[in-house]
Structures are given as C-alpha cells and as structure tokens.
C-alpha cells in the first residue's frame, strides 16, 4: 500500500489535554499517512475541535508529542506550524470580515510566496501573489464575488472562502473542521467535490458529522469518544466495528 511507502504526515504520541481537573483529550495516539484523507468522527464534546487546536498549535498539549513529518511541533506557535506546511480551517467561519474576498485570499498567499513583512514592495507589483490568488479564487468558484467584503457573503460562500484561505498557502497537510456544517444538501455536495479536488495529493484530516460525507471521502477514519480514540481503520472496518456502533454510529449507519 502506498501509505506505507510514503511515511507519516501527522503523528500524535500519548497526547493529553487537561483544563483544570477536566481531562478533554486522554492518551491519544494517531497516525495520518502522507496523502491520506483521514476523517475524525465522534459525538459532540468528544474533543475533536480540541484535538485540532492541539495539532495546529492553538493550544499546547499537557502531555505527549505531536509530530509533523517526523519533526516535533508541539509547543510551537500556530504561525510557525503553518510555515512548516500545516494549515487548518475553523468550525465557525473565521475570515477577515471587512476585507474583500480577493484580499482575504491574498493575505493567505503572502507568506507562502516569501513576502514576509515586506514594507518596501508594492502589493500590485507581485505577479506571483496575483496569480496564486486568482487561481485560488477560481478554484473556490468565488470569481464573481471577488470585490465583495467577506462579511457580506452568504454562509455557503463564507465556508468556501474559509477553505480557500486554508489551502491558499500551499500547505500539504490540511485540517478541515466541519467544513459542511450548516449547509444544505446541494451545498454539501458542492463543498465535498471542492474539498476532494483541492486536497488532491495532499494529506487531509477532517472533522465531519455528516456520515455520507465521511464515508464517501475518507480513506481512513478514527473515532474519538470522551477524549479517547476507540477505533481507527478503513471505512469498512469502522462500519463493522462493534464498539463504534455502541458508542456513536448506532443503528442508522449500520
């Protein structure tokens, strides 16, 4: 199998997170192979978003190690993890509301094209930034809304922009936190097609509640319940897993 040849993109070793006396993540071990689409499922409050926050550097793990391509990233601030090629989206839309769609994407392109904190370059004279921004704009199908402030977009458009900002920097490890939450059926279908296309050849870790999305998209699935991973495997294995059925999937998905 290719995933054994390619090596590991994300690895969690004995990761724990406690808030006061509450243990939110308990001894989690997880491996996501490079190029794999890995879904993280579990009931509300299982700690999925917390796990994302730990991996992306938004929070620091209390115990344990997080590795990105075999290098430790636990304890690094989010922007340094991002510069190493890991990018995440947010469950609640988190864009630059007063800036236009174009400017939103461009902000996400700047560091990746090596602009850093440049104050001596004219932003309009950066062809590479322009091209990449335009490409992302086309990819997320928001060309017609280019000059609209992000705060005025429809919900589905904002979700698309959220994904656009996440992938714009060219990171090869992408974390998407419930990208289709709150979308209609048709919107969800479009979003899934978009995610499938944009994460081609990249590693994807996705939190998702919609089981049709999860089973249609993921190569592997991990199930998180009460801060612990109770099962990890291919969609078929997860579907047939007794513990998962009891804890989460229930009868409907069986």
């Amino acid at each position: 199998m290719s995933q054994f040849l390619k090596g590991t993109a994300i690895e969690l070793r004995g990761v724990e997170k406690t808030f006061g006396i509450t243990s939110v993540i308990r001894n989690v071990d997880l491996k996501v192979a490079q190029g794999e689409r890995h879904a993280l499922i579990g009931p509300n409050g299982a700690g999925k978003s917390t796990l994302f926050n730990l991996i992306s550097g938004y929070m620091k793990p209390s115990v344990g190690q997080i590795l990105l391509r075999d290098e430790t990233i636990s304890g690094l601030p989010p922007y340094q993890i991002n510069r190493r090629g890991l990018s995440r989206s947010f469950q609640v839309t988190n864009v630059f509301a007063n800036m236009t769609v174009w400017e939103n994407i461009r902000c996400a392109v700047l560091w990746a094209t090596g602009q850093r904190y440049a104050f001596w370059k004219n932003i309009d004279n950066l062809p590479e930034v322009r091209e990449r921004t335009a490409q992302i704009l086309v990819d997320i199908s928001l060309t017609a809304r280019r000059d609209v402030p992000a705060g005025l977009l429809t919900y589905a458009e904002q979700r698309a922009l959220e994904i656009g900002i996440t992938i714009a920097g060219g990171a090869d490890v992408i974390l998407l936190d419930e990208p289709t939450a709150g979308m209609s059926h048709a919107e969800t279908e479009r979003a899934v097609a978009l995610i499938r296309r944009l994460t081609e050849g990249r590693t994807l870790l996705i939190v998702e509640h919609d089981m049709s999305v999860v089973f249609g998209l993921a190569d592997r699935i991990s199930v998180l319940v009460y801060g612990q991973i109770i099962a990890s495997g291919t969609p078929e294995e997860i579907r047939g897993n007794k513990k998962v059925k009891e804890a989460y999937l229930g009868e409907e998905a069986a």
Binding site: Y79, M99, F119, K121, I123, T133, A134, V138
Partner: protein, 433 residues
C-alpha cells in the same frame, strides 16, 4: 497561469488611472505652492503649517487605529520626544556649526519617535484591545511625568527653546519668516503623506488590515500578529516624531504639553472625527479640528466643551467620521439620485440649526453663571451680545432646544426615507452594491 485565472484577477490600474493618480498629486503640489499666494497673512500661514503638522500626526495615529486596530491613548509620547530631540538638535547644530540644514531636522525627530516606539512597543504590542490601550496610557503618564522631573533634558515647566535661524543655511534660507516654515512643513507633509499611503499598499500594510479584522486567523496564514503590530507601531512612532519635530521648529520651543494627555486626546479626536476607515479620513479630521480649535478658541472660552460634543455626536451618529458621511453619497452621486435627498436635508437643516443654537445659548448662559457669576450679565458669545440674566433668553433657549429637537426628529425621519428611496433606485441602476 491559465487564462481563466488571469481573467479572475482584478484589473491592474490602467495607464489612464495612473495618470489620474499622478495628476492628483501634481494638483496637490500646485495647490500647496499657490495657497500662500492667496492667503499671505502671517496668521493664515501659521494655520496652514499647523494643519500640515496635524495631518502627519493624525495619519501616523491612524496607522495604529484605522489600519491595525490598535487604540492608543499615548501617541503624543512619540510626537513630543520627536519635538524635544529636534529642539536639542537645533541647539547642538547651531552651537557646533555642523553643516546640517534645518530641513533635515524633522528626520531626527522621526528617528527619535522610531527608536522610542521600538523600545517601548515590543511589550505593549503583544496584545491589542484593552491591554494595549491601558499600557499606552500608562507609558504616556510615565513619560509625561518624567518630563517634569528630568529638568536638564525637558526644561521643566518652561520647556526648551531654540533659535531655528541659527542653524547652517542652505541657499540662503534663514527659516525666520513664516512663509519659509510653511514651505518646509508643506514639503514634509507631502513626503510623509505619500510614504504613509505607499505603506498601505505593501504586504505589511495589507497584513495590518488583516490583524485589525482578525488577529487570530492571521496566525494560521503564517504571520505573527505581534510582529505586525510592532512594525506598525514603529512606523507610527516614526511619523509622529516627524510631526513633533515640525511643531517644535514652528514654535521654536518644546515643552511637556507636547507629550501630554491633551495632545494624545486631540490626535484621537481629529483622526476619529475625520474617519478612521479611509486613508484621507485623518487628513480631513486634521484640517477640520485644527481650524475649529483655532476658530472656536477666539469665540468662546469653553471651546473644548463644544469640541467634546462634536466628538460625541460623531461617535454616535457618524461612526465613519466626516469622510464616511461624504463617501455615503458616492453611490447616489453616481446614480444621479442625490438630488432626491438634498431637499430633505434643507428641510432638516432649519430645526437642527435651531436646536444647536438653543443648546449654545444655554451653554453660554450656564457658563456665565458658573465661571464668572459676579460679572456683568451682558455677554457676547460667537460675536453676538445678549443678556445672560434675562428670562427671555432662558425661555428662548429652552424653546429652541425642545422645539428644535421635536421638529428635527420628524425631519430626520424624512431624510431617512428619502435616503432609502434614493439608495434603492441607485441599486436598481446597478450602482450601489
């Protein structure tokens, strides 16, 4: 790059746009050259100089407030330190006969602002919001009080003075007459405005806006919001220092008032009243506030009270500032529906003016009885004499306030209606978004 992608990008400014842009700057230069020919009195030249200084200061403040979303209560620190260093520089240059002409001195002020912003900013820019505002206030108090303690450098209450005509002269410009100071200020204002405009068009300038909108998300596109805030703070300190140095050159003195809370408050007022959401907002605000404070202080002893009322009115009813109010009309102007709103303005103007007049009458009367109750009650405010003790005046003030308030409320709902109609028909024409 695919054709599809290239067509998706916003069009680059065409040759005509660029010509328009450069034409605008050229027009500004011509206007600055012609202005002293039209208003050649010493008083108006001083006013123009003060406006220029105020423009630089307000724009430097807006790098923080409008561009990066940082509310500072202590921006005068960098203005004032720039002013003090400029005065000391003039004295040193004059004493040692260094070959440094006066037009270079503002750069020393700017570098002073930059150095102190770089020293004091690293900690305060760690957070935006309340923490930053509080630290800026604390630092301002610290510097302002040390200005009174460190007498050798700050000159205590009296301040430090200098003679600007004693420095090395270039092309025989003595910088004694105000007209020469005007040209010096105008040139520096033009340079600083250009530089600060260019800054908004750079990757850093754009990321400043991103930090303003959402500092959390900035971290997940590879940027450290702390570094962005810090750099913005340094630039802001640099331009504030230039403004302070120009003020010091203009007055030939620097004192503790330069660093104080009033100065920090004034720049916040000017920037906000002008409009923090637009690049030209602080320019409009600086012009408005400078002229108003110079004009009002001649007309009434409590001009700061009126100033505060204007500020409150802007915060409550026009959060986009004066520029925001003007810009609101742009879609209507383009759609040609502006004429539908104007009559309602004219109707609303009369009772609103009546209410304001009543308010001013009441304020002046109250001020007379609280500030100097023993004096003759026949007073003169805004050039109009009246008897503050007369019950007729009191009744008139009350009538104007309440009657004006009642009527203006009605007329302003009319204005709102006219607006809605004009805007929706502008939308039908596809002009407004």
């Amino acid at each position: 790059m695919s054709d599809l992608a290239s067509s998706a990008a916003p069009p680059l400014p065409a040759a005509a746009d660029k010509l328009k842009f450069y034409g605008l700057w050229l027009a500004v230069i011509v206007a600055l050259l012609v202005l002293p020919k039209l208003f050649s009195s010493g008083g108006s030249l001083t006013t123009f100089s003060l406006i220029g200084i105020s423009i630089i200061f307000a724009l430097s403040y807006n790098i923080l407030l409008g561009q990066t979303g940082m509310l500072s209560f202590g921006h005068a620190v960098y203005y004032g330190l720039g002013g003090f260093l400029a005065i000391h520089a003039i004295n040193i240059v004059a004493k040692n006969k260094f070959a440094i002409p006066l037009p270079v001195i503002p750069l020393i002020g700017g570098l002073t602002g930059l150095v102190f912003a770089a020293l004091l900013g690293w900690v305060s820019t760690r957070r935006s919001g309340t923490a930053f505002a509080m630290i800026s206030l604390g630092l301002a108090e610290l510097v302002a009080s040390s200005a009174l303690i460190l007498r050798t450098f700050f000159g205590g209450e009296a301040g430090v003075s200098a003679n600007r005509t004693k420095v090395f002269r270039l092309f025989d410009w003595s910088f004694g007459p105000q007209i020469q100071i005007y040209y010096l200020v105008a040139a520096w204002t033009l340079l600083a405005v250009l530089a600060m405009y260019a800054l908004t068009r750079t990757p850093l300038g754009r990321m400043c806006n991103a930090v303003r909108d959402n500092p959390e998300r900035v971290q997940f596109v590879g940027y450290d919001p702390h570094v962005i805030r810090y750099l913005a703070f340094c630039f802001s300190g640099f331009f504030a220092g230039i403004a302070g140095a120009l003020a010091a050159i203009n007055f030939e003195i620097a004192n503790s008032a330069y660093l104080g809370a009033v100065q920090s408050g004034t720049v916040l007022f000017a920037t906000y009243i002008g409009g923090i959401g637009f690049f030209i907002g602080p320019i409009v605000g600086a012009i408005f506030v400078t002229i108003l404070s110079l004009g009002l202080s001649d007309l009434t002893p409590v001009w700061q009270l009126y100033f505060g009322l204007i500020f409150i009115a802007v915060v409550m009813y026009a959060p986009g500032g004066l520029t925001g109010l003007l810009m609101m009309h742009r879609p209507l102007l383009r759609a040609g529906t502006l004429t539908r709103v104007l009559p309602s303005y004219a109707v609303a103007f009369v009772p609103t003016l009546a209410m304001i007049t009543g308010l001013m009458l009441a304020i002046e009367t109250i001020v007379h009885f609280t500030v100097n109750p023993g004096d003759d009650s026949h007073i003169k405010s805004f050039g109009i004499p009246f008897d503050a003790a007369s019950p007729y005046i009191w009744a008139m003030a009350a009538m104007l306030i309440f009657g004006g308030f009642y009527l203006s409320r009605k007329t302003w709902t009319r204005v709102a209606q006219a607006w809605d109609e004009a805007l929706s028909s502008a939308r039908d024409k596809g002009v407004a978004a």
